[in-house]
Symmetry: C2
Subunit: 463 residues, 2 copies
Amino acid sequence: MTADIWDVVIVGAGLSGLSAAHLLTKRDAKLRILILEGKDRVGGRTVSFEIPAADGADRWDFGGQWVGSTQTHIMELIKELGLEVYPQFNVGKKVLHVGGPTSKVRSYRTSIPALSPLVLLDFTQMLWKFDRLCRTVSVQDPLRTPNAAELDSMTVHSYIEQHAWTEELKEQLGVCSRSVFGVEPSQMSFLFFLMYAAAAGGLLALLESSPGCAQEFKIKGGTQQLSECLAQRVGWKNVRLGSAVTAIWQSWSSVIVFQLNHKTYSALQVWSVVEPAFRSKIQYQPALPSMREFLTQNMPVGHMMKFILTYQTAFWKEKGFSGEIVAGSSTDCPFCVTFDATSPRGNPALVGFISGQQATLWSTREAGERRAAVLSSLVKYLGPEAASCIHYEEKDWAKEEFSGGCPVSVMAPGLLTFYHPSLRKPCGRIHWAGTETATLWCGYMSGAVQAGQRAALEVLAEV
Amino acid sequence: MTADIWDVVIVGAGLSGLSAAHLLTKRDAKLRILILEGKDRVGGRTVSFEIPAADGADRWDFGGQWVGSTQTHIMELIKELGLEVYPQFNVGKKVLHVGGPTSKVRSYRTSIPALSPLVLLDFTQMLWKFDRLCRTVSVQDPLRTPNAAELDSMTVHSYIEQHAWTEELKEQLGVCSRSVFGVEPSQMSFLFFLMYAAAAGGLLALLESSPGCAQEFKIKGGTQQLSECLAQRVGWKNVRLGSAVTAIWQSWSSVIVFQLNHKTYSALQVWSVVEPAFRSKIQYQPALPSMREFLTQNMPVGHMMKFILTYQTAFWKEKGFSGEIVAGSSTDCPFCVTFDATSPRGNPALVGFISGQQATLWSTREAGERRAAVLSSLVKYLGPEAASCIHYEEKDWAKEEFSGGCPVSVMAPGLLTFYHPSLRKPCGRIHWAGTETATLWCGYMSGAVQAGQRAALEVLAEV
């Protein structure tokens, strides 16, 4: 048992924890900062690696990948670290398939989907209702939202059932929920959904790849670089990988952090702890306030499987497709959305997501069966060339230890109403980071940076 | 690091784990069984201790306390262990207060509350609807329930909003949710609620103290005795208290259980593990199937504070009251229900619950303030004699380590639909007990016994 003394221990070397460490180091180079990470890598819910591609091999993001120009915290970090962004390719026909496995597959070029006049009207009135409600939401303190308790007592599903007129729109909203949150509309509080959209500037900002929206840019070389560059600046010697924290004990004079590392057990005396991990399996002494435990232990995390397919040629572009496919749960298609993922070096690729109820269903099947189903759907939507990929690679985030899911932990009904005040409130010397605690682009990489910086500022005020 | 060899390690010495151990021991006395418990006592969510009373001191239950004649598993265990039950006292006027802090406090003697004709009609039609739906629910496989996905996509709150006509009934249903589950109607799936009621034989069975209902009998000497007697039969030498399990690693040949015990770290080779703990902070290698993790880590646990007040005389009985008070959340009253809790030895007492949103609110206040508010409400409802108690003792289950809440973990919307198949399904050599996995009286002590015995039978089939 060691008893090293540190000023700040940061639990988790994701974007939020490392952003906290980076800001702390910049403000006070004398601070002794230790970052403990359970995984054998930095990056948390961002990870980039090489797979076979047209010119040999190339690197893709298998976790968080998009950033947008209104995401100021991440854009500033990208600039500071000297990284470059490039736009999401979205030129050409988009494919839409809803209304059952045998329904017509539609394609359209505008930003408005190819919908029947009735569905279009339904879509418009729903967007109007969502946006009107979004504007009433206080992201900082959602309980101040008019009618907050009622909005938080219903699921997104219940709101949709009450306000959408057409089955087709209901199915499309299911795709939105699955692709943005990794959960079904039935698993989420409607007030949480509104708060999340409001933190991004509105619902359309979450869904689109146009300027200012969530899917605007990607980062050359991959998003995991952000964490690697941050670890570099903070000093790799201060980052301990494969070092899961099992317990945090606070006394009047200090905090002791215990870790389970290769069957040994060490204790670290520290001044402050920044804990970005939601759903962590850490034992606290004294116990955390019950509101805090109820909140963080009851936030369902999304289930997303992300896949990348590499090709010799971007045949979809040649055929006038953008690569964007939206498929509803009533179809036989395992994925909810795909996009073009051609690399900056020009290696053609598609990226897609199996998410929510489809992830639950498809994660229990064999990998080969899943691959075959994805390819078969792509053939249906983009043509027979889709069958001949160079490589299919997938990542099931539910199987990722210390994450347990992706992209974000959402709130079930009632959680906001009763427990939200504890979301960002420090517990003694433990400060809370993590994108779930952000007020701008909550749930996104930008939110992770914002939250980490906010936690760092709290610690600086204390040290 | 030790490497003891055991046939079965049971995690948690609550009623479910000990029932499993008891059955295993009875069936095969040669089995080497070890029970690891994080707390410094057996009993899980049942605990009984002495407090000052009229004749000096007496023992009360501060966790689970009631059993009923239709709860066959617990009734058989009580008989086998040689314990005795006695009926919940319910003779006399009951008090009902809903409709705002200044509304009239009503009292009634029948099993039907003193309601206006309109509210009574509303109450009747809602009960009829609930019971009709309950009869369609398959407890064993709730996904076979007609319209299952829709019923699981809404909160209990949403169903009530759609089907109850009067504010008064809505408020009373809030009391039901709080007193039975420790959560608000907004925090629970409607299908889960129906399944839970169906497992008890209907909604009224959950609410009443009449024969066959959940609040029919109490156990002389307290419910913690059940676990103590079971530990005695299994052998106290096999029960290790203060021994929290931190990790369970499975290989093809065995299971290794790690525990964090007084800063040492030991490993135990075992054949099977019975794990009754929901929401446990255990690290698994390999990771549990994602459906299992999503289910158990996302079940909100109730928040209940239980209090016992002892008196010199049972003044409420002398005044014709039964001791039963029902108070809605619109009143200023901190508790939702009270009952008579006079001990078998005749020491007068009242028992009550601060639960759900009221627990969230009141748990942040000082203990003295809470006590004063409870007494002030009792004075309002039962008379000035209520102010002069001998002793006020309370237990906040949210603060109990390794429980985190009480009485039960419920399911938020969408959990049943997507993850229910993993509720009882063993993961390799790990078998799941706990009252949450019961099919009869799920959430009750009887369910804990049923679930423990079922897990034991699974293990016997394997060993």
